[in-house]
């Protein structure tokens, strides 16, 4: 990293100008705060300790770009160092103490996405992300299998033997990582919903949700994928979309409404919340004891981005035989697996270290199981769990087991 760089003024000036005009006020609000309380809750900063990777720097760069000190070429690489977990936004005193009165929330995640988009538009690419998105564009699903091609032909292989129809009013959207890698999760979800009498079908042609492309700055691609999926939902008559992954949930509740405005009229249902409701209503019964000592990993996009932390705990407490050692959701603002927003593609070393620390925190509670509700977290956490003797399971896998369901 010790190459000398001169603050270059290159790139597309008009794009940068437009970007700065949109983001300068947000940047001033952070610049003026100067508290930096965000720093020690940031999962990346906790590892790199690099001030250029902080939300403070992410905002200050906008001011520096406005003044002509920095260009997109100077800063683009720093913005790789963010999992878009949202912890910094919550810990920001501006959010905490002016949210109600001024209707203000610090939006670091959106800023990071905007800078990444500016980089892509300006022709500044991160090689890993560029390749990932090219492959996704080619195959229509993310290349989650480390070289083994994924394809539309196999996108529903996970559902073999489950007898799921295509289409209907309610459609289950199965995330790429779940469809091709951790297939035990969608199978568990399908079995649970079937057992509870929930009718649902699959899409005709399910593409990636487009969220990862949006997170890495490939906005046009994200939109094309969104358009495809929405068209497919409409074609099969879907009105209600069941979502089993928090990242997809962000895409469908934040990105898609921005793309389509008022025309976007689908009900988006998070499976974790639906299952909690099914348990509450007695439509699903958990009676097979699960002999484990477990703690719960708050999925960042549920806990920090969406404020969803009660439903998973409610479910865990309903599982017979399980000893549940909880860590409150505010303490978990500073926890993460490091898997989000493409960090694991460009900096797998950081993802591994963030996951190692997360598993270590679980280990200190003397548990044998770390339960997650985010499929993207489960691969890096499992890799670290193996060496620390902590098994990582998905909440829905555990529910299926407690409901006595065969996967």
């Amino acid at each position: 990293m010790a190459t000398r760089e001169v603050g270059s003024e290159g790139g597309d000036g008009a794009l940068t100008e437009q970007f700065v005009a949109e983001w300068r006020n947000a940047a001033y609000n952070c610049y003026s705060s100067g508290h930096k309380f965000c720093r020690e809750v940031c999962p990346v900063m906790q590892v790199t300790r690099d001030e250029a990777h902080t939300p403070t720097a992410f905002h200050a760069n906008v001011v520096a770009m406005e003044q002509g000190h920095l260009s997109i070429e100077d800063v683009a690489r720093d913005y790789v160092h963010c999992t878009q977990c949202g912890a910094c936004e919550l810990r920001c005193p501006n959010t905490l103490f002016t949210g109600d009165f001024y209707r203000f929330r610090t939006r670091t995640v959106d800023l990071v996405k905007a800078v990444r988009a500016l980089a892509v538009e300006s022709g500044v690419h991160q090689p890993g992300w560029q390749r990932w998105n090219e492959l996704t564009d080619e195959r229509k699903n993310e290349p989650v299998l480390n070289g083994t091609p994924v394809s539309q032909e196999h996108v529903a292989d996970w559902a073999d033997g489950l007898g799921l129809p295509v289409g209907g009013e309610t459609v289950l959207f199965c995330d790429c990582e779940a469809a091709f890698y951790r297939t035990s999760l969608p199978r568990a979800v399908a079995r649970i919903l079937q057992a509870a009498g929930v009718e649902f079908g699959l899409m005709r042609e399910q593409w990636c949700c487009g969220g990862p492309a949006a997170e890495m700055g490939y906005v046009d691609q994200a939109r094309r994928f969104a358009e495809h999926n929405v068209a497919d939902w409409r074609a099969v008559g879907a009105k209600r979309i069941l979502v089993l992954d928090p990242h997809d949930y962000i895409s469908f509740t934040e990105d898609y409404p921005r793309f389509f405005g008022d025309d976007y009229d689908f009900e988006i249902v998070l499976v974790v919340e639906l299952v909690a409701e099914l348990l509450r209503e007695g439509k699903l019964t958990l009676s097979a004891p699960v002999d484990r000592v477990a703690t719960y990993h708050d999925a960042c996009r549920l806990n920090k981005r969406k404020g969803i932390y009660e439903a998973p705990r409610e479910i865990l407490r309903a599982i017979p035989g399980l000893t549940f050692k909880d860590v409150d959701h505010v303490t978990q603002w500073s926890y993460c697996s490091g898997a989000g927003a493409g960090l694991s593609i460009e900096r797998p070393d950081l993802t591994a270290e963030i996951s190692r620390r997360r598993v270590e925190r679980a280990k200190r509670l003397e548990v044998d199981t770390l339960v997650s509700a985010c499929v993207w977290s489960e691969r890096p956490l499992s890799e670290q769990g193996e060496s620390q003797d902590v098994e990582v399971v998905d909440l829905m896998e555990l529910v299926a087991q407690a409901a006595g369901l065969e996967l």
């Binding site: 309380f37 020690e40 690099d50 001030e51 002016t98």
Partner: protein, 503 residues
Amino acid sequence: MPTVTLSDALLDELVQICGEEHVFAGAAARFNRARVPSPFPVHRWDEFVPDAVVLPTSAEQISEVVKLANRERVPVVPRAGGTGLTDGAVPLRHGIMVDVKLMNRILELDLEDRTVTVQPGINMLKLSEELKPHGFIYPDNPASYPCSLVGGRIGTSGWSLIGGRYGHTRDLVISFELVLPTGEIVRVGDGGGPKVRKSSSGYQLKHLFMGHQGTLGIVTEATLELVKRPEAEFSAFYAYPSYLDAWRATGDFARSGAATLAGVVLFDEWKLAYLRRDDEAYIPQPESVKAVVALALYGNDDEVRASAKRMLRLGKASGGTYLGDEISQGDWASRHDRYATPLHGRTRDGQVVPMSWHCEDASILYSQLPAVREKWHAIAAGLRERFDMFDDWGMFAYTNGAFKPWGDYLTEIDIGIWEMQWDDESWAAWVDAKREIARVALEHGGSISACHGSCREGEVDLVPEELGGGFEVMKAVKRALDPNNVMNPGKYLLDRAYEEDAP
């Protein structure tokens, strides 16, 4: 001002010492380590940018960097959290920035002798999280508690919001290791053994190497006091119809003699007006409320119960109106976040603009608080009248002494500054105002700074006057320890130490 540009050969040497992944010469890495939260002339940002940044991982690496800097006569600027309010971590002469954030490990936890030894890049909140399972805290608790780092606390000799009960940084740091300006690694403390709290052996060097704003070396390790987690906390907020009533009550609480008393805080009328702009605790307060006093107690349950009763009696006798449990507990719990919000900034016609919170602090004797308050507000009013980018956010006074919190007060006037408006004229007016604020502190027998340090432009001009012959000693010490003036040059007027007729 001399501008140093590092050669590629020198950069290569830094890489050899610290490793390629810990040396940064890119523009973004350097621009993001130029400023701290104190007012920063953003229109002159590029004047304060380091030439290179290193994130070392050991004392030996820092020592090598400092020796290299001496050989090449390049400035070295230490940086820990970069949350200080007096520019200590701002590279006034460019050079090599030594950022210690990567050195953030706990090295030893000694539950028997009750010490914890850490590296300088660890944050106090994170440290206390690690100490919690053992039943301890590290009670150095500044407003920047969630983000400032132990190394910076030593470099600035920080002040703690609960220092009345537990002491301030100087009382909580038992010993530390540092790299001197010439590169030698030494350990200083209260005695020879790194865990000894009181000694009469030799010069008392610990204090010399605290609060020097990075001009006398870089801390690489520190042994800190472990304190039992308090069983009980009690906080109370009282409202008063006038500043003088509240000031008298503050004195009563502070002189109560309760050993559990962690601090008493006096908010003035301007501060309440500022909080009434949006704080849900203050909007409902009637206009008759002109000042507020807050206090906090910590300790064993039985002690806190008894002293809380005493405080409630004193509060009633002083004519205060108790503001209720919700404000008393909630506002105290949110003390780190609550009182400095950019969106509270207002132009003269009431427009909301994002302003930086700037806190000008001094140590002021209790008897002088009312007079100083009036003079400081007049200075702030003068600024606001000339430039519609300054806003008076009111004053706080906190009990200042550790364990004997009654004589003097950390007194601050908070000034909101719309920093995007800086130009040379407004910056010059601000520097003049700070000098005037410091002048008032000295005229009333106080000190220019209780905790931030007094090396910023403006106020620093009066430091020789405040310290008298002591400043001559400072210069002699600086020149003896830093013969080449490489360690954070340009701070505290210490360049004068190198003038020909200097002592």
